[in-house]
Amino acid sequence: MSAIIVLILLGILVAGGFLIAFVWAVRNGQFDDDYSPSVRMLFENKKPKEEETVEAENPDPKQ
């Protein structure tokens, strides 16, 4: 029986951790813009000057 109680408390702690993470994310403004992050992650991270080599390796499928 006591094992179950320990597990339940543990469960609350884990769930509480996620709740805190959620509240932090909201306060941090991560839910203010739900579009640009989805696009931003697809951008090349490299400086444009190095881009030519990158393009040579991965030719743009649209062209």
Binding site: I5, A15, V23, R27, F31, D32, V39, E51
Partner: protein
């Protein structure tokens, strides 16, 4: 005549594109942006989304952002500065795609003084952090303008820094409610299983106490708004929908707390947390509005932040609020006249497009009076301020307070129903209590709370948010943006529709062109088109678009004389285009039916182009459909020239009023309301602002919904004008769906109440009935709105 598509903006280049780097551009503006990006190896911009660029019709003049050098304004604009590094937020209405985000977030490549920049897409804002010892705020704004992302800086933004904290706190509330709901449900679960009553007492206690702790933040934090609004409503003697909800929450909370303290399990805690969670989700769904659209605009969001004042020491840029009566100001090409003023020097040529919807500039002479809100087209002019900004004729109109907010809450459809609902629930609860009190007093208390618990109008309260929330979304997708869901209710109640004419029924950018005089050869037409290509005057634009010719000639000695016309030489022939006075040397004929552009080639008078406003496509069908259901009225500042034609369109029963001033329009709408009409006003310009604010529902029509439109309840994309009747009529469908949802939720309530009054409502019944009723109403509302919209809105 389709040519290549412009590499930058995708517009048709015609047969003579601007070529650079073997690529075709529609204009030099687009080519310049491409050059800037090409220099910095930022061609990626065109790969993320091809032809993503923005075309800017009129190149901005060099002084547009000069006011950003003013220290006082700089302090107001900057979010943060420590002397070296500054942060600023710009509103850039033209942000529209992934490429925009890419480019605006790589501003550091364009100018190393920019540390980094981030885009908020729904708000169409860009946050820039920059080193202000290396680049000034003005240079930064000019850099954005150079790549055609012209930031919009207005008085309005300076005064109130937007806050998004309310939507954030709602999300936190939902998160907490969800967290508690899930956990409590887990603790309640054993009780619902067969043999659940065999659960050991220790477990019951632990589960009960844990649930009690978890429910506290839900009731006292997540649900706090419901208590508040219910209390506020009672203070104003209104029974709002929040009152029965509050009653239900309170009853659930006390009943369950009692169960925990007396060691009888966890009561209805799971239903309570679930109820609050569903209600908050409904609120969030309804509250998600068009962040980048502004419905609250008044003159402040339209007027410039600063103006050039002429003092004895020379020119000085001052914030507009420091402008005083008697000041002399300089207004350059494309700048706004910020206050009522008198022309003292220069040739005025004032475009009142935003005020009246009429885009053809009005010439003004020395000592003429110029209303605030006009835009100078042509050379700079000097003005003497007659009224301060706040006291100007048009600004005064907008300063009058909006009285609708208070009346709205009273009329609210759902609040009316909730009044009867609450009274009925209380009546049933008390009757049941009295009935049971004769048999068993503890059962009587139990029945009393059960009725309050099960009657909690969760499904009822979710109906409106989801039906109207979905309607609003569907409308938004079709180009009709509502300020909030209440507008749907007002639209539904409309009895009378009042239209503005110029800019609303007529197209502000497109005109019908005719020619009277000696017939022109195709070659001569080509020459005319080559000429007008160089001018930014709206009449030139209309001619350029209308003439079916090729602008293939090179123009020499081109000159534009503001307020007069344009002149130039093509193949040794001198071509003059413009006013009667300019081309023929004769006095202007006063006839405001149409605008005329006279033409002479090599001194030989050829005749004139007549340019008229054209009515929007689908006007007749929209009016025909509306006139059988509503009273139609038309108010216009124009004279009666078009009366016959309009009367034909509107039919004999409609009231048409001409020569109406902005104040007349407002008074007319108010008079209609006094006679008991529910007025829908449709307008576009600032001169309608008063009437739009006075009406029950104000719709403004805009070519570009992100740029200026007067304060209103809804914004309609001008291209969707032909669907206006469908939108208005669809609100009836929405109401029908609401009524059906009400019936469904009453059915659930009826079933629940029958359990409650017979004293057999168990936590299990509540735990099943409450979420099922909420979810089924939500699903019904959502699906039926979508389905009906697919059928009825095209």
């Amino acid at each position: 005549m389709a040519g290549q598509a412009c590499v930058h903006c995708g517009a048709d280049c015609g047969k003579h594109p601007v070529i650079w780097d073997d690529k075709a551009f529609c204009c030099h503006g687009c080519k310049t942006v491409y050059q800037i990006l090409h220099e910095k190896d930022m061609g990626e911009y065109y790969k993320i989304q091809p032809m993503s660029g923005i075309r800017v019709e009129t190149e901005s003049h060099s002084n547009k952002f000069a006011f950003l050098d003013n220290e006082e304004l700089k302090v107001q604009l900057l979010d943060f500065t420590d002397g070296n590094i500054s942060k600023v937020k710009f509103f850039v209405p033209s942000i529209h795609c992934a490429s925009c985000i890419w480019l605006l977030e790589h501003l550091d490549t364009l100018n190393p003084a920019i540390s980094y920049s981030t885009v908020n897409f729904p708000n169409k804002e860009v946050y820039v952090t920059f080193r202000n010892d290396q680049i000034s705020l003005r240079q930064l704004a000019e850099l954005l303008a150079a790549i055609h992302y012209v930031p919009e800086i207005t008085l309005d933004q300076l005064e109130k820094k937007g806050s998004i904290s309310s939507s954030r706190s709602l999300l936190v509330k939902i998160g907490i409610a969800a967290f508690s709901f899930m956990n409590i449900m887990m603790y309640s679960f054993p009780e619902y299983l067969p043999g659940g009553d065999l659960l050991e007492q220790d477990f019951k206690d632990v589960f009960g106490w844990l649930s009690f702790i978890l429910i506290l933040p839900v009731v006292f934090y997540s649900a706090s708004d419901y208590f508040l609004t219910a209390y506020k409503g009672l203070k104003h003697k209104i029974i709002s929908i929040d009152l029965p909800i509050t009653l239900g929450i309170t009853a659930l909370f006390f009943e369950s707390t009692y169960a925990v303290f007396s060691g009888n399990g966890i009561g209805y805690m799971d239903s309570l947390a679930g109820l609050v969670f569903f209600l908050l989700v409904g609120k969030w769904y309804q509250g998600k509005t068009y962040q980048a659209l502004s419905f609250e605009r008044d003159y402040k969001s339209y007027f410039p932040v600063a103006i050039t004042r002429l003092t004895e020491e020379g020119e000085k840029v001052i914030p507009i609020k420091n402008l005083r009566k008697g000041n002399h100001i300089l207004v350059r090409n494309q700048e706004l006249v910020p206050a009522d003023a008198r022309l003292i020097k220069g040739k005025g040529n004032i475009d009142y497009a935003f005020v009246t919807g009429e885009s053809i500039p009005v010439p003004k002479q020395k000592d003429d009076f110029i209303y605030a809100g006009g835009r100078q087209v042509g050379s700079s002019i000097e003005l003497e301020v007659i009224n301060e900004v706040e006291q100007s004729y048009l600004t005064q109109l907008w300063n009058q307070k909006d009285t609708r907010q208070t009346t709205n809450a009273l009329d609210n459809h759902i609040n009316k129903i909730s009044q009867y609902f609450t009274l009925a629930v209380l009546f049933i609860a008390f009757t049941a209590f009295v009935f049971w009190a004769f048999h068993d007093i503890s059962a009587a208390i139990y029945v009393f709370t059960s009725v309050l618990i099960i009657a909690c109008p969760c499904a009822l309260a979710l109906t409106i948010p989801f039906t109207f929330g979905n309607t609003m979304r569907v409308f938004g997708r079709k180009g009709f943006y509502l300020k909030k869901t209440d507008v749907i209710e007002q639209l539904h109640k409309t009895t009378t529709i009042v239209f503005d004419k110029t800019g609303t029924l007529t197209l502000s950018r497109k005109m019908a062109v005719g020619f009277e005089g000696v017939e022109l050869s195709p070659d001569q037409l080509d020459k005319v088109k080559s000429m007008v290509r160089h001018s930014s005057h709206p009449l030139s634009g209309a001619l350029y678009e209308h003439l079916e010719a090729e602008p293939c000639y090179e123009v020499k000695h081109y000159e534009e004389i503001p307020g007069m016309g344009i002149t130039g030489t093509i193949e040794k022939e001198r071509i003059n285009l413009g006013s009667r006075q300019f081309v023929m040397g004769e006095e202007e004929q006063s006839d405001s039916k149409e605008s005329r552009v006279y033409l002479s080639i090599s001194g030989e008078q050829k005749g004139f182009f007549s340019i008229k406003n054209v009515y929007r496509d689908g006007l007749q069908t929209v009016i025909d459909d509306l006139k059988s259901h509503y009273d139609l009225h038309l108010l216009t500042g124009d004279n009666e020239a078009e009366k016959e034609r309009l009367q034909q369109v509107f039919g004999s029963t409609a009231v048409l009023k001409f020569n109406q001033s902005p104040t007349d329009k407002k008074a007319y709408v108010e008079a209609l309301q006094k006679s008991g009409k529910n007025v829908l006003m449709i307008g576009d310009g600032l001169n309608d602002a008063g009437a739009l604010a006075a009406s029950n529902t104000g719709i403004s029509i805009a070519d570009d919904v992100f740029s200026f439109s007067p304060a209103c309840d809804a914004i309609l994309e001008s291209s969707k004008f032909a669907q206006l009747n469908q939108f208005i009529r669809f609100t009836r469908t929405s109401f029908r769906i609401v009524r059906l949802s009400f019936v469904i939720s009453f059915l659930y309530n009826f079933i629940g109440l029958s359990f409650a009054v017979s004293a057999i409502l168990s936590p299990l019944v509540a735990a099943i009935l409450m979420p099922v009723s909420s979810v089924s109403v939500v699903v019904f509302a959502t699906l039926s709105v979508r389905w009906m919209a697919a059928r009825k809105l095209h």
